[in-house]
């Protein structure tokens, strides 16, 4: 029995690995849909709405890729993954790409054999506490009980932060964001820690968001972005340049409102023409058609539109652009040129 289970595991690993080596673009085209790994539910980034349609900032990246490759932003199937299951899901070929608040780190890029295709949100780890606790700085958290999602970089940052500040803490490992909320709200832990965007999104879903504060300290750099398997450069390029197209579109003023007009005929700006396929054939170089970026941008709008729609200041999550403003406005969002 033991042996057969072991062999079964070997088979799965063997088969999964052999799928992973096939060309992902051809796979996706043959399937007719994109299999996208997202989080198990983080309002604003990836969460199903009342009708079961996934929506959010991360989800939009998947939809843009689906629009670019397949011509239909709805041709996406979503696989909810936890912090623990996401890498196995991607490495085994269960999903074609991962857009799930995943931090770009050296070991994930090099040792886990993934390719990070850019950054769609510059984040950092923070702490959320109930106001009634009367804490105003993370340095005052000595001896606190901290809820933490297991299998994430936050776990390692947390250990480092408390160690370097000579403080003790009691980690309470938790599998999903929803379970963390339950424990945090009932007071089973004093502090909830994850990326600041995640904290803001989680707090927005609380009954009384005003009773909780996010402490000012940011204890880590968390560049979050979509990732793909290493070794399939064509597919990685498609995901990377789809994201870049969304970013460039904001920089160049291409919006979902004016894109049809701009794409009708050549504009005065040659870069816009190249992006929208009215000049040159950048799409052909990717193995796609000329209108790929047009469809990607039209799917949900440019980077700035997506930001405002799902996580911006007017939404319940209320995140300021901050580091995620365009480079011309003092942020870090910057796309290499389309030429």
């Amino acid at each position: 029995m033991k042996k057969s289970v072991f062999l079964g595991a070997l088979t799965v690993a063997g088969l999964a690995a052999s799928w992973a080596t096939a060309g992902t673009l051809d796979d996706v085209k043959a399937k007719g849909f994109l299999q996208c790994g997202v989080s198990t539910g983080l309002v604003g980034f990836a969460a199903p709405d009342a009708n079961g349609n996934w929506a959010g900032f991360d989800v939009s990246v998947c939809r843009a890729v689906a629009a670019a490759v397949l011509g239909d932003p709805q041709a996406v199937k979503f696989t909810p993954t936890t912090g623990k299951t996401r890498f196995t899901a991607l490495a085994s070929g269960e999903v074609d790409m991962l857009a799930r608040n995943t931090t770009w780190t050296f070991t994930r890029d090099v040792d886990l054999k993934f390719t990070f295709d850019g950054v769609n949100y510059y984040d950092g780890q923070g702490f959320m506490v109930p106001k009634s606790l009367g804490v105003s700085s993370a340095k005052e958290l000595d001896g606190a009980t901290v809820c933490i999602q297991t299998g994430t970089t936050t776990e390692l940052n947390l250990a480092d932060f408390f160690r370097s500040n000579n403080m003790k803490y009691e980690p309470v490992p938790i599998e999903t964001n929803a379970e963390a909320q339950q424990q945090f709200l009932s007071g089973a832990c004093d502090v909830y820690t994850t990326d600041r965007s995640g904290l803001a999104a989680t707090r927005a879903a609380f009954e009384k968001p005003g009773d909780y504060v996010i402490l000012p300290e940011t204890i880590s750099k968390e560049p979050l972005g979509p990732l793909t398997r290493q070794g399939d450069d064509q597919w990685s390029d498609i995901v990377r340049w789809t994201l870049n197209a969304l970013i460039s579109a904001e920089e160049l003023g291409i919006t979902s409102a004016n894109i049809d007009e701009m794409a009708k005929a050549k504009t005065k700006n040659p870069e816009i023409n190249r992006i929208l396929g009215t000049a040159g054939d950048l799409g052909g170089m990717l193995g796609l058609d000329k209108k790929w970026a047009y469809r990607a941008i039209k799917a949900g709008g440019n980077y700035g539109e997506l930001f405002e729609k799902y996580i911006g200041e007017k939404t319940a999550i209320g995140l300021a652009r901050g580091l995620n403003a365009q480079w011309k406005k003092g942020g870090l969002i910057y796309s290499p040129p389309f030429r």
């Binding site: 063997g14 992973a20 890498f87 390692l156 803490y169």
Partner: protein, 406 residues
């Protein structure tokens, strides 16, 4: 035999005999099956190895000596985030063993108790026991674990409820015990100088109990006189140690938990993840043990009881001397598999955030290092070793109680 076969004309061996001759056929089938099995296994292993190599991840256990980088809340041995992944796995293994041992002990006690109640002549009692058994064991144990945890988190007060002049929650037993939604805090004994003598006396009295038991048994067999052994043993257990405790001037004190800062400090902290897992596993497994106990007792023929009564034995001694020794033969093999089940079910710990070996080696370590194959192989090997050890110990015990056929 040899004489007969020598006389028979021995046909020359032909290849077709491998299939048509019953003497060789079963051998042929076994060889073919073996070769196919080895080929299949070899193919799977080489395929997995080749694909892992193609992914650039050849099998390697070097990650075990790297610093783990994460903290574990419950560690029975010294541990911090700068220690290796191997150490983290060991911490997890000890946590697995802790909850398994606690679970096996309490499941046995509850199981035997319920199993006996199930046989009660009182209709209400036996129905209640049946209701408990059928109700619990027909729901997956994962749900019981999650339910137990949810009850702890939602119904018990947070530590901050104990604060202030008019706290909404209070400690129990003269401020010795606190039940919070982070776990139970109980006093911890602190050993001062001179306490070793008390501990020594306590262990000596344990030895004394065994010696006395043997002596009383021998006396009973020689003279037929029964002593009230239970009360005497109880006396040996308590009196000398308590006496020495006072003679040495209270060398052992209790460290009470007290609310300091965010949490209770001092005393033992039994995390609610441990308690939830332990309770759910023991109550769930107890249902199976109860059924095994009931079946074992019922399997002893009624004639045995009647014969014992006819010899003038009282009901309690009939149970002790006649029924239980025979019932144990039937109960123990089932008990072995229930202990194994409980140990393996403890891997559901991650549902409540209990850091067992599945949570450390098969969870965080696997995730942070990306070594799925290696971590899972080690994890399976660990469970295999635990299970085989448990069953060999239990088999040894089973051999010692089973009917000796002479």
């Amino acid at each position: 035999m040899t004489a007969i076969s020598d006389n028979e004309p021995r046909a020359a061996f032909r290849l077709s005999m491998l299939i048509y001759d019953t003497r060789y056929r079963s051998l042929t089938i076994q060889v073919v099956a073996m070769v196919l099995f080895m080929l299949g296994a070899g193919w799977l292993i080489s395929n997995a190895a080749a694909n892992l190599a193609a992914l650039g991840k050849p099998l390697s256990f070097g990650f075990l000596s790297q610093p783990s980088g994460y903290d574990i809340n419950q560690h029975l041995i010294a541990y911090n985030s700068q220690m290796s992944h191997a150490r983290a796995a060991l911490v997890g293994l000890l946590n697995t063993l802790l909850v398994s041992v606690m679970g096996c002990v309490s499941a046995t006690i509850i199981g035997v108790f319920i199993g006996v109640l199930r046989l009660s002549k009182n209709w209400v009692v036996s129905r209640l026991a049946a209701f408990y058994i059928e109700g619990l064991r027909n729901v997956p144990v994962l749900l019981w674990i999650v339910l137990a945890m949810a009850i702890f988190i939602e119904t018990l007060p947070a530590p901050r409820a104990f604060r202030g002049a008019n706290p909404s929650a209070t400690m129990y037993l003269d401020n010795m015990v606190a039940f919070t939604n982070r776990g139970f805090y109980i006093p911890k004994p602190v050993f001062h100088s001179g306490s070793w003598l008390v501990v020594l006396v306590f262990f000596l009295s344990l030895v004394g109990i065994v010696v006395f038991g043997r002596w009383a048994r021998k006396r009973f067999e020689d003279t037929g006189q029964l002593l009230p052994t239970f009360w005497i043993k109880l006396g040996i257990f308590f009196i000398p140690a308590i006496l020495f405790y006072f003679i040495m001037g209270h060398p052992i004190t209790l460290d009470y938990p007290a609310l300091k800062g965010f949490n209770f400090k001092g005393g033992f902290h039994l995390r609610n993840s441990l308690i939830a897992l332990w309770l759910a596993l023991s109550f769930y497994t107890a249902t199976y043990i109860a059924e095994a106990v009931r079946a074992g007792i019922q399997a002893v023929s009624k004639g045995q009881t009647e014969a014992a009564y006819a010899l003038g034995l009282r009901p309690t001694r009939t149970t002790q001397l006649i029924i239980l020794p025979q019932a144990l033969r039937i109960i123990i093999p089932v008990l072995i598999s229930q202990y194994l089940n409980l140990t393996k079910n403890s891997s559901l710990a991650i549902a409540v955030g209990y850091m067992d070996i599945t949570g450390t080696l098969g969870g965080i370590t696997l995730n942070q290092t990306g070594r799925e194959m290696e971590s899972l192989m080690l994890l399976m090997a660990a469970y295999l070793v635990i299970s085989l050890s448990v069953s060999s110990v239990m088999n040894w015990y089973n051999n010692s109680v089973k009917l000796k056929e002479r």
